[in-house]
Symmetry: D4
């Protein structure tokens, strides 16, 4: 939005053009089943994202090839085999701009270079199995220009190891911590007892028996004795990242 | 069995009667062979216990006044107001032997002096609200002659405080730790990461929202990343204590 | 540690004693290294809080009268009848400093004047029944010196009314929005579709039938299509406020 | 039923024939495991439908080839691969009358032309993943002769987009709206706040984590603050359509 | 919007101020475009309703005495003891217009005479315990001017009795049936197999054991083999009635 | 049906009227054909029963005083305090025929003497807290004229005691065993491993923590490794008794 | 058992031999993981059954080839593909005695001819998808020598059809009815309202959405208003049959 | 730890070296996603274990080939097909030390010979399907040097069989019993009624219908009437073994 206003001030566009650009119909319709929010980056400050689950291959290829996005695009929950199956249907202008992140199951298609910003999010995981969710968060944050500082598999069973890693994040002056954990989900509680930084907890669906679906971790995080933690849906690394970005955006605005 | 078969041959009973008598006989023989539990109370070292919930006042008074227990008796989950309501119906020989533990909601009636044993259980709670459950465990352990070394309200939010308290239990050479916690139930996981002693975790029904009934704490404890923890029912301080006592008895037997 | 080893070499202690002392020493060293939380209260800017549920009246009065808190104290979930029952046991120096907030069920005891800070949180509720939870958040935020700008009972059924209210929050330049809702819990989703500010969603246990305990609202908020929302426990206005405060603190630090 | 009465009045059939036709055994037995309600259309006004799940391929082919249905037949939840597997066993008279709807997983076999009726149902979905359920509803409605006016992927995050689409349905004078949504299921609540038309809400099993099975959407719809919404089973597009048809039938009867 | 842009060009406001003003403006424009619900109450034909649970007595009396409702008001879930407690605080103009329905727990305050309409809803209950919920629906329907034809305690165990009662509703030409049932919730399924009228099923929280909260009835109704049933929340007689009224309104519009 | 058709032909009624009359006629004919349950009570041998929960005091007194039952009446789930509250409103002819069973919470009003039958049901409970449910079953069985042979509080922890008690039931030649248990609900499984008699398992809502509502006992019974067990609802002693009576009736019929 | 007693009376065996045969170790051990109850038929009157799920192919072949069963054997939950995979490992003496029932997923290996008994069980299903469970019950009953009279897919939506089919079972003088239903599970309630025969209800895991796992049907059956119904585990046709057989055995004993 | 101290006493290492060895960083980092606790055996007395689920093949091979473990390693939940897929990537020094246990799904890599200890754990299972979980416990115990005495498939339906097997464990003087059961999970309750040894109950996810996921067994075990039982997560044979080992270690220390 600021760009439009600056163009107006610089005389590059007229008042009418500015109004028109500001008012432009914000949704593009792609066939019958898909509508697209092309101005979202402006409103929410996060680049447009497409959750690939529940969409057919045709829907997905259609979106990727045809959306007139002005900025960058991120496709989440796209596993490697599906990416390989559909990528040969991508247009050339898509192919030259895409990056596929196997561990995070994310595909990015960047039309513009990402503008680097000088604020960081710390991402910490309890176990190795939580890494894909953490990576989903990491890529999303990096797409927004912020830094992601990660430390994985820190557990809570070895308090030495944990203390060192949290110390590492504090030294790096992260402004938000995303704490990812499955099983009993105790990591965010322990971290929140040690630092005074906003913590976004992400339960994961790792484990088995009573913890099979991630509900134990979710409920433990919501029920934490350590206030200051907020929680997102099970396995929702993307959501945690967007939440962190909106926080960093507020910090950035006030700097 | 032979008698029955001979009566059949002698025509004293019919085939149908023989069949029916053999069936009854089968249970009696099976019953007579059960030698396991005859002396259980003595060996287990846990005095006779009565769970007062679900029993009418009449049932309870009747048990307390009339059971010819040879040893000591423990009545659990007896809150103060109920104790006050029924105590005037107790016989004199009961009245002179009873002790009521308000915080633990336990009534003991000790006919014999408790024989002191030289082994200890550590009891640790996450919060103040977990204390009644911990006290139920403590009294039960002390009734068995073992020592209970307690440290309450240690939380996991202040790692400093927690380490000191665990240090205190280790110095006291406890052989089992009972870790009592509600809310997110993370305490046993953290303790289990620091010591090599068997840990019995007791979830409590403290908290609210998603943790209201204690299921979050229960599931978190069952799902703990730190192996070596076993768990009892929500609020079951008595059960944790009996489990601890059976372990100490085994140690005692081998000393 | 060296002392222990030397004592071992000098024959002052046995190998077993050395091992035991080394274990205790390990926790103490670990404990001494924990520097994270020493000054937490000051830095976090959240005054000391006591959750009154699960504590006996005696415990509560004891805490209120005797804790040597240097700063201010907040007692949460203290309903009016309990406050009236226990207040005559308060010391004089407590009585002259306390304020009771009936709707929020909060008691504050402020030893120091609260330092005003120039950042704001917006608090919005779907219905009238959500107000006590919102007020718990408001008082907690105001105790920290930040502003709370509230607009209650905005619903989602009247889109006109909702848009005006969000407009009101945006005009007031709030940096975080706490959105409180029971029933189907749709309010945070709708708000998150309209603004680019971090949203902390608080489900409430209002309603009946399938929504009786607040789980429908909780799950709807976690499952929201609108990314950027994070969630706290059912009815946890205090937790939402602390989360908001940690965010504002980060903004404040960077200003 | 009216046809029989008119034939009686026109002298085409006698009183006895009329009675006989009215009384005719309404169920046809197909082998041991299947019984068929051939007069249903008359009683309920919806053409005969077969739910294909839980039936073996043999049962299904048997029904399709042998039922002496006088009207049209609809087979639901028949995915494309199963249709392709069994279609070569269909009789010729079936093959020339069938239409397969891939997206809706519906097979229709129409013996009679559908009589068009001048009333409409609006069908609206929150996301792209909800489209198959919406299409199941659409085909069922069109089989009954009514119009289905659809608008898919309207979300609730972009209020502009949603308002335009609801406006579109109101302009088309739909008499019932079927609102299909997964995730947090907030769409029907928002729609019900804007229009005064009966709304049938269909939760879908899209999403993940706490919303995985569609229960969050179901409970949110049942718990909606906006009265006037009724709900059908998760993913039950067919049931929503039949409910809508019975409403339109009542309107039609009174016209 | 143009004014803002011009002020920017004229240097009266900065880019930041322009951006902020444009954001506020966006909601206001959106709000102004919402024409849908302006006249909703009149068109929907459902008088203004207040759900009394979760509101304090003060809130309730305040609403009843002071809201300038133009039409009639209905207060739901107001049990007799609460009504008696608060009624002496009502203004005189309220007192002369109110009617309290004890069985339905409804209070009506009618400023205008209700306009009678010539369409009917049938209300049927499985048991005696379902009657309060049915009465809530009945009063709500009668407040809207439509007829409610009721038949209670018909069960499904006596098929004779049930058939007579359904016959009675059909004779009275009801256009919608509200079927209220707790326990196993089978009534709507049986009714739906016999008639071709839209059926709104209301589960009730009667019963005990596995059916204690009404979820068994709710799920049975959602899962009914008999298509054409839609369902509202447990005990939600009011919601069922509003849904029925919106259907009758559509019929009325087309007559 | 012919009359309607003739009236149509004679012009006395229109086609629409004929259709409507035919629909009503359809239910009446169906109803007239239902001969199954006319004499049910006599044949089933279970006297008329009224479940008192969910009925108002007025409803209950009305039923008790006015129903022209030909046989005997049983009122279930009527606790002592409610019985005392309503009994002074009973008619004299009721008062002289009633018996109140405090432990079973049952009131019987017997107009005829109960005809004794020579078959027996064994009733066995795991604990003392299960006795009220067992007594509900016992009184119901005795009302039907059959014998109930009871043995309570047999547990499964003392195998000796259990074997003796089962032996006692086998000696008494019971034809059905009702096994009542809360907590982990293992009693029916153990019994079913020892005898070849049909077993009706009744879970009870005794216990606490994970077993609080009786679901653990219910699920354990349904999931029993020992085939031959069938189960009724939690606490449903009455249902178990009726099930047992229908079995004994079949035996009686064949004798 | 009777056979042994008769042999004793006939002088074919001595008292010692009789005692020995009666006492014989009843369990045969097959490798480390399997023990086998070879005398079960005598005690419980149902032929030995093996639940094939959870056993490896090796375990299963081992049991089938090596058990020294004196009577007949039934293997349940053995689907066709698994049967085909393992059957070539069967011994010749097994192969000549086996029958595989595809629809019931049952394999029988009959060493003795089944002795026909003159009592019957009625089996009724709500839908086609319930047939496999019903067939599991049918084969089990026929293995015991009793008659199974079946009528499938009777639904509750077409009351005509249902009445005819129940009438058919009553005419055939069945002594027990097994009622099998998924979805909303209403069939047993409706049947129990019409007949005075013991009813064993079997919920099935057919359906989708809220009924996906069969819990809706299970809970509806347990919660039935029609007393006299007892229930077995979801899909447990075998358990229902064994329960029915124990009932018929009691009838048979008394004839 | 003792080894280091002894080396110090023997003059093999200096005080500084001892301190350094005791302090050594206990965690080895393997790439970004895995950290390894190499000193765990010393602290907890159980050899290092890796839970293979949730780790990629690459992670797993990396750990197995590169960890500088000084002692033995155990990989759990590694099914045969996965073992076969990855084993050709193992280093030679791994290959010559590994043993794969198919039934237990465990891979051990033993660098040192296991030191035999003279204490035993009894392992008992209810059924054949519980054997894999029991074997996971057995191998883990044997890795620690203790004895595992097993008896599988003892059920509770045949009390004879069960009594013999428990008698067998008692004769072998086991100090802890691990009781593994699925379905209704009654085995630990029955065992606990007969012996005075600590019992660790392991619920398994065998069964179907209401017991499908193992929750029925878990809850039954937690809810057991027989105190002295503690419980681990569903299918968690490894956790039960570690808990047993910590108990035996305490006994061993005191001998």
């Amino acid at each position: 939005m600021k760009d439009i206003l600056k163009n107006l001030l610089d005389g590059k566009i007229s008042v009418d053009e500015a109004e028109s650009q500001l008012r432009v119909n914000e949704f593009q319709e792609l066939g019958d089943n898909v509508k697209f929010d092309t101005h979202r980056k402006q409103r929410v400050g996060v680049c447009e994202a497409v959750y690939s689950k529940g969409k057919t291959d045709d829907d997905l290829v259609n979106i990727i090839n045809n959306v007139e996005f002005k900025d960058n695009l991120i496709i989440t929950r796209l596993d490697e085999s599906r990416f390989n199956r559909i990528k040969n249907q991508f247009n050339d202008n898509v192919l030259e701009k895409l990056t596929f992140y196997k561990e995070a199951s994310i595909l990015t298609i960047n039309k513009k270079e990402i503008e680097k910003k000088n604020l960081s999010v710390g991402i910490i995981t309890a176990g190795t199995a939580d890494v894909p969710v953490a990576q989903e968060a990491r890529i999303t944050i990096e797409q927004s220009g912020y830094n992601a500082i990660t430390t994985y598999d820190v557990g809570i069973a070895g308090i030495h190891r944990l203390l060192n890693k949290i110390s590492f994040l504090v030294e790096n002056e992260v402004d938000v911590i995303i704490a990812v954990a499955g099983m009993e989900g105790a990591l965010p509680s322990v971290v929140a007892g040690l630092v005074d930084i906003p913590i976004i907890a992400v339960p994961t669906s790792t484990g088995y028996g009573v913890g099979e679906k991630g509900f134990t971790a979710l409920f433990a995080m919501l029920q934490s004795c350590a206030p200051g933690i907020s929680v997102v849906n099970i396995d929702n690394g993307y959501g945690a990242a967007v939440n962190a970005i909106t926080i960093l955006n507020q910090i950035d605005k006030h700097k």
